[in-house]
Subunit: 205 residues, 2 copies
């Protein structure tokens, strides 16, 4: 019997995913709604084999909280779950020692397979993310953006200034301004903040 902790601030997901996994005879499921709650459970007498932690959750603060939990409870295998985080976050999590990354685009059946994989000691990283590693950012075709516009948007989604983006892409700042302007028009955004919000809303970045 494997003890699994699910940490997600959406009660609906805790309930339904928990119920789904509890249906499997060899899983014992516990759920919490925050990283803090996860810490409390992990510190309890129950020994957890696996913790599935949502990326967007009170206390997470990016990957900081996740990394902290992993350091504090090295006996438990940690998996990051996210509805929309990009491959860069997934990779970073894996580098920090995560045993897997579960996008919510996974089917329930696939997730069970991934859980069993991780429990067996292997690590799980979805192949779809391998295909679009951060180094080759192209091929996304998000709202008819060109390659450069796509890259610009990706940096924009990290709150960077035009100057910082220009440095990162090795071009002049004016060029980035142009990309930003054209991008705003394509996204129908009022300004860069709006664009970043739209991008995030639509699962880009």
């Amino acid at each position: 019997m494997a003890n699994i902790l699910i940490a997600d601030d959406h009660e609906l997901i805790r309930d339904t995913l928990g119920a789904y996994l509890s249906g499997l005879h060899d899983f014992s499921i516990f759920t919490v709604d925050s990283l803090e709650g996860a810490m409390v459970e992990l510190k309890s007498s129950t020994v957890f084999d696996l913790a599935i932690v949502d990326y967007r959750m009170p206390g997470m603060n990016g990957l900081d909280g996740f990394a902290l939990a992993m350091r504090r409870f090295p006996a438990t295998k940690f998996v990051l779950m996210s509805g929309m985080a990009g491959s860069d976050v997934a990779l970073k999590a894996m580098e920090l020692g995560a045993r897997g990354y579960f996008p919510k685009s996974l089917s329930a059946e696939m997730m069970i397979g991934a859980i069993r994989l991780v429990l067996s000691g292997d690590r799980y990283y979805p192949f779809q993310l391998v295909e679009q590693t951060p180094t080759d950012e192209a091929g996304n075709n998000f709202r008819n953006l060109s390659d450069r516009e796509t890259q610009t948007l990706r940096h924009l989604c990290e709150g960077k200034s035009n100057k910082e983006i220009a440095r990162a892409l090795n071009v002049q700042e004016v060029t980035i301004k142009l990309h930003v302007k054209n991008m705003l028009a394509k996204l129908n955004a009022k300004n860069r903040t709006h664009a970043a919000l739209i991008a995030r809303e639509d699962g880009f970045c």
Copy 2:
């Protein structure tokens, strides 16, 4: 037997929520992963009593797609579901004719109750949202922000400029600049775009 359509781009949620609701003997569940898919299903021979539609999904474009679907299929009761949309979106959806708004913070049991309520002809609006109507936005205590800073951030999360926020809050632009500056410091954000991203990341707005 009530036919229910679930439209959500996260396969995990479709699977687990679908399985959960299918466990009830009087619900017949269909799932799709986009608004377009929902349109196809709704146009089919099956008569749907209820459609539960996720706010963040390909084709939605804010509430535009939702409104379009409701207009096109008036015989079906529509409910908006969201993981994080604020009360303003929920209210707007209700005004557009939605029969209910389901935050994902709802428990599975509560959702079943809400579904039965809607199927019976009533409308469902979570009380938690009534308490924090857009008019009195206070009481959130997000990262030690003051009331005004909180309101400012809320507008910031819609991509508004300082001038627009000032108009909305009936103060001078300089005042908003002050709030923004103090807010950036409290959120540890580099600029307004970063702040908006952080706020969204943490479930605020």
